[in-house]
């Protein structure tokens, strides 16, 4: 235990990287999810097809595979493209960026399903009422769809977030100096891998517990007007 305390700075830095990665990928996932849900619900056949292919692809492929494809393959693709067009010299995608993009892309698909379900749960009559009142589609989204969508989507959103936090651990495999990477390096150098990995598990449990509190707060906030039986 003293060794873990001696390495507390390293573990803390790693935790910060993990949390940053998780939050940045969550934002990207929400972005992809909103686009995906809009595409799935739109009347345009092509966008429905594309969004359908997106969610099917993600369900079919493990996140680490996509992450590696993006980290190694995406890098090469970007540079080949730059060479071809002459728009840029040599670009390097670092582990953090490819982690954000692959996790965001993967969880965007899960968010798509969550948001789609939530939007479908809003009674159609309310949107028609908004149109009848002369609201613009932007205003309908802001005043009618969004507040209720958030409420319906929260349980699924909470679940996705908890899975996402755990998925960030995989980025250590492509070498990001996150909590897992730092701890396993430290654990190996002092020959106490079990102690360090156990500490990592405790930190993940702590992150989960903290997000539970936050999610419960959100849940209360967006369910203010709902009658409880």
């Amino acid at each position: 235990m003293e060794t873990v305390w001696a390495y507390r700075g390293l573990l803390f830095d790693g935790t910060v990287v993990t949390v940053q990665l998780a939050i940045a990928s969550l934002l990207l996932a929400v972005f992809f999810g909103l686009i995906g849900a809009t595409a799935k619900l739109s009347s345009n056949r092509l966008s429905q097809k594309i969004a359908g292919a997106y969610t099917t692809l993600i369900r079919g492929v493990p996140d680490l595979v996509l992450m590696m494809l993006l980290f190694y393959g995406g890098q090469q693709l970007l540079n080949e493209f730059g060479e071809l067009t002459g728009w840029w010299e040599y670009l390097e995608i670092n582990q953090f960026t490819s982690g954000i993009f692959s996790i965001g892309f993967v969880f965007g698909a899960y968010m798509t399903e969550t948001f789609r379900g939530a939007i479908l749960a809003i009674p159609r009559g309310q949107i028609e009422a908004g149109i009848a009142c002369g609201m613009t589609s932007m205003k309908i989204f802001r005043r009618i769809t969004w507040p209720q969508m958030v409420r319906f989507a929260l349980p699924g959103f909470a679940n996705n977030w908890l899975v996402l936090v755990k998925a960030t651990a995989l980025v250590s495999v492509i070498g990001l100096h996150d909590l897992v990477w730092n701890a396993s390096t430290a654990g190996r150098s002092v020959r106490e891998p079990f102690t360090f990995m156990f500490t990592v598990l405790i930190i993940y449990l702590f992150l989960t517990a903290v997000s539970d509190v936050g999610l419960r707060w959100l849940d209360r906030r967006y369910n203010v007007g709902v009658r409880k039986v």
Partner: protein, 263 residues
């Protein structure tokens, strides 16, 4: 004549693959056996873990659902721990971590079991899937309709008989959709195998890319393999659901009415 023609065709294909095509598919084809072995290992560990974990989870779910005085809390701790932490770190903890202890290294379990990546992965995956399965199985046991239980009591069934004949069969059926997700997540999770020296599907892809210094081929091939596996699993489960949940399906006319309303 035919022989030489086909060989030139193959040579032509190799030429295209190496020089023109963005992906060297002939190279992948030459090493397809690696991927097949990788798929076999992935499936082997995933299926074994699912079977063992499934068997473990049933008594735990029952103990949780009926709030057993001594077992409820420890099982809750177990599931909270395994559901709240990444599978990767759990695997590292057992595979890399256990060697820290002298007593483990000298125990009789060390040589055949705990020093082997295969066994460590199987143990961790089994416990992990048992954690998830326990919780949703508990959920579906708890949502057994009260009427079914009352009917079983009215028939004079003992608690054991009721569990065996009424509660579990209906709980398993309601848990089936969640279980198909768990199976797919477990397959996704099995990529962790390649991080502890095992040659699973992703491991085969990484090997190919490393050996020939490639960026796409290995990962894309592994990706296609995973997609095929997930497709087969989803198909299998939807057939199973049709078979098991046939009594819950809406009648044809009703389905039509619902579709008309939604559209």
């Amino acid at each position: 004549m035919e022989e030489s023609k086909s060989r030139t065709f193959w040579e032509y294909l190799t030429y295209i693959s190496e020089n023109k095509s963005p992906l060297d598919f002939v190279l992948v084809w030459d090493h397809i056996d690696r991927f097949l072995w990788g798929a076999l290992l992935t499936l082997e560990i995933t299926i074994l873990a699912l079977l063992l974990g499934g068997v473990l989870s049933v008594p735990m779910a029952i103990a949780r659902a009926y709030k057993h005085r001594w077992l409820n809390f420890p099982i809750w701790c177990f599931t909270y721990f395994f559901r709240g932490t990444p599978l990767l770190v759990q695997t590292y903890l057992i595979y890399y971590g256990l060697a820290q202890f002298e007593s483990v290294r000298e125990s009789f379990l060390w040589d055949p079991v705990l020093s082997s990546a295969w066994w460590c992965a199987l143990i961790v995956f089994t416990l992990n899937t048992a954690g998830y399965t326990t919780e949703f199985l508990r959920g579906s046991i708890e949502t057994t309709p009260a009427g079914e239980i009352e009917a079983a009591r009215a028939c004079g069934m003992s608690p054991m008989t009721m569990l065996r004949r009424v509660v579990l069969p209906s709980a398993f059926r309601r848990a089936l959709p969640a279980y198909s997700n768990e199976v797919i997540f477990m397959l996704h999770g099995s990529v962790v195998l390649s991080t502890i020296t095992l040659q699973d599907l992703l491991g085969a892809g990484r090997w190919l890319n490393g050996r020939y210094y490639l960026a796409y081929e290995g990962f894309i091939t592994a990706m296609l393999f995973y997609m095929v596996l997930v497709f087969i699993i989803s198909r299998g489960f939807s057939l199973w659901e049709k078979h098991w949940l046939v009594h819950l399906r809406q009648r044809e006319s009703e389905t039509g009415a619902v579709a008309a309303r939604a559209g």
